[in-house]
């Protein structure tokens, strides 16, 4: 271990908790933030005379074929995608922590085998196809997507948490705790969960660009939000059809999407960096 002075270790631990907390907060708050920033009137009002304008100071992203403001449409579409991401985070993180902890605590016995089998099954099923199939059955535009994605994406994080749990539960300080009489609940809540949350969070954050991509592809299948509600995938794929005449229709939302994913990536990198320095 590193021989850092105690104060520096403490500040690093605080920094780690800060980044984890801040990332969650940002992800959970961003959908409503984006929605609030968007001007719904401009996004939905059809003004055909102003169709297909290039980006300008008045219309930052230009206008689409019906004269609607592309900037506001992008904001609303991004808010919808981020809602999926945030919802799946809220479901997947606790699920992966709890199931990974159980699996690690009973490593080798039947709870571990059952949970590992479920994780292997989730890896076998083509995740993307499962999401598409269930969304096809349930119908477009319903709120099932965060649940669906969250219910599948906990698997990689749970595998990580399981390995971490095995490692932590065999470490000296946990054994000392147990010898001093700590109950299982105390060990789980004081030692296991705080230590395994950052790696699980990092794993999930790195997967979020994929979730946004899947959210976008669903509109290809007609399973996205119903028009006139804009969706990120709808904007991009509509814009692709007009790529030669109006490249800004697809290009600018894509740029926003890229910036979004890079920011999520940045958050995850910060947590990972703090983790690396405290390990």
């Amino acid at each position: 271990m590193n021989a850092e002075p105690g104060s520096r270790r403490l500040s690093r631990a605080v920094l780690l908790q800060f980044w984890v907390f801040a990332s969650f907060l940002i992800l959970l708050v961003s959908p409503s933030l984006f929605h609030r920033l968007a001007n719904e009137g401009a996004a939905y009002s059809i003004r055909v005379p102003q169709a297909l304008q290039t980006p300008s100071a008045a219309e930052w992203f230009g206008t689409d074929t019906l004269g609607r403001s592309q900037w506001n449409r992008t904001l609303i579409g991004t808010a919808i995608s981020l809602r999926t991401v945030a919802g799946s985070l809220v479901l997947a993180l606790p699920l992966s922590l709890i199931l990974g902890a159980i699996s690690g605590a009973y490593a080798g016995q039947w709870p571990d085998r059952v949970i590992s089998w479920i994780i292997a099954l989730l890896h076998t099923i083509p995740f993307f196809l499962l999401v598409v199939a269930v969304a096809a059955l349930v119908g477009p535009g319903t709120g099932i997507l965060p649940w669906l994605v969250g219910g599948v994406i906990w698997a990689p994080a749970a595998r990580l948490v399981r390995m971490e749990s095995i490692r932590i539960l065999e470490s000296r300080f946990v054994r000392a705790n147990r010898a001093a009489g700590a109950s299982a609940a105390e060990i789980f809540s004081r030692s296991l969960f705080p230590l395994s949350t950052p790696p699980a969070a990092v794993c999930l954050f790195y997967l979020f660009p994929e979730i946004i991509g899947i959210d976008a592809i669903l509109t290809l299948f007609g399973l996205g939000p119903k028009p006139p509600t804009p969706s990120l995938g709808g904007l991009v794929f509509e814009g692709i059809r007009r790529w030669d005449s109006a490249p800004w229709l697809a290009g600018l939302p894509c740029l926003l999407l890229i910036t979004l994913c890079l920011s999520i990536h940045f958050l995850a990198d910060q947590i990972a960096k703090q983790l690396r320095m405290t390990s």
Binding site: I125, P126, I153, V202, E210, I212, A268, A272
Partner: protein
């Protein structure tokens, strides 16, 4: 004195069977899930086939004929039997057998996947070989690749597809390929391969980094082996395992990048079949595609676990980097 190996040796047949129990159970789970999907799907299959104006009696008759009013377990049993014997049902739209529909649409997807896998593996090997031979080139390469990985793969696929449409038109015109030749998939597959290539190059670079820092490598260099000889003996031999594992991790990504590329280029592959079966609510075809994909993933993962047995005490990294996270 008994040696440890004679105590622990199992008959070969038993270990063979044990190795198959895990994938077989996963296969069963996959079938359960697919059956469950079609079982809870809203709408009456018989009514969907006969149309909304059919008489109630004929709908009921078709239901009995299709066996839809039997208990769930019996239905699942017959589903399992049909899957195992290759009778995967008929499409509700075209009345063709599902396997025939899949077979008709398999060609573009297969060739796109084949070319894309080839490109990404070759790119990984080539870029790393160049980075090994010319380290000055390797240094700016890595941040570029990491940036590429942090982009959502969907955006990379779309952008690359748009770039490739120009290239495809140019090459098709200049080489005069017919519509049936598999080489028309060569250029679009570049778009599919771009993101996986970044991931595989980075993973391979990490593996090479580990190997180059290993004591045995330094000892070999000190004994006088030249870098190029060591590249062939050490690095390349170890590269295949890493590349295979990386490819297995990227297979699901290849699947949906292929769907995007098929959409942009209007290829009638499995992606187009998936889209049409979802929009037409054609449940047998949808289940068939899901089952086929699941089987493929299961086979690939089973083969990969057989080949990459890791020693138990080798600890996996605690913090995964983005390219190491397996997209399910």
């Amino acid at each position: 004195m008994q040696t440890p190996s004679s105590i622990n040796r199992r008959p070969l047949l038993v270990s063979f069977v044990r190795a198959f129990i895990w994938p077989a159970s996963l296969l069963l789970g996959l079938c359960v899930l697919t059956f469950f999907l079609s079982y809870v799907a809203p709408g009456d299959p018989a009514r969907i086939i006969l149309g909304p104006n059919a008489h109630a009696d004929s709908v009921a008759q078709l239901r009995t004929q299709m066996g839809l009013d039997r208990p769930v377990i019996v239905q699942f049993g017959s589903f399992l039997g049909e899957v195992l014997t290759g009778r995967w049902g008929e499409s509700w739209i075209s009345r063709l057998p599902v396997l025939r529909e899949i077979g008709d649409h398999l060609r573009p997807t297969f060739f796109l996947g084949l070319f894309a896998s080839f490109y990404s593996i070759t790119a990984a090997l080539l870029l790393n070989a160049i980075a090994f031979a010319f380290p000055r080139f390797g240094r700016p390469l890595i941040p570029l690749l990491r940036f590429g990985i942090s982009l959502p793969s969907f955006v990379v696929a779309v952008a690359a597809a748009l770039a490739m449409t120009r290239l495809q038109a140019w090459t098709a015109n200049s080489s005069g390929l017919s519509g049936d030749s598999p080489w028309i998939y060569a250029v679009p597959a570049i778009a599919v391969a771009l993101y996986p290539a970044c991931v595989m190059t980075t993973l391979l670079r990490d593996r090479f980094g580990d190997l180059l820092a290993a004591p045995f490598y330094r000892a070999a260099r000190a004994s006088g082996y030249s870098p190029s000889a060591l590249f062939e003996r050490v690095l390349l031999r170890n590269a295949w395992a890493t590349l295979f594992t990386a490819w297995v991790n990227q297979v699901s990504l290849l699947v949906y990048s292929t769907i995007i590329i098929e959409y942009v280029f209007s290829f009638r592959g499995l992606g187009a079949l998936l889209i049409s079966s979802i929009q037409g609510k054609d449940l047998p075809v949808l289940s068939g595609v899901i089952l086929l994909n699941g089987l493929f993933f299961l086979a690939v993962q089973t083969v990969s676990t057989q080949f990459s047995r890791r020693p138990k005490d080798m600890e996996p990294p605690k913090i995964l980097r983005p390219e190491q996270v397996q997209v399910t």
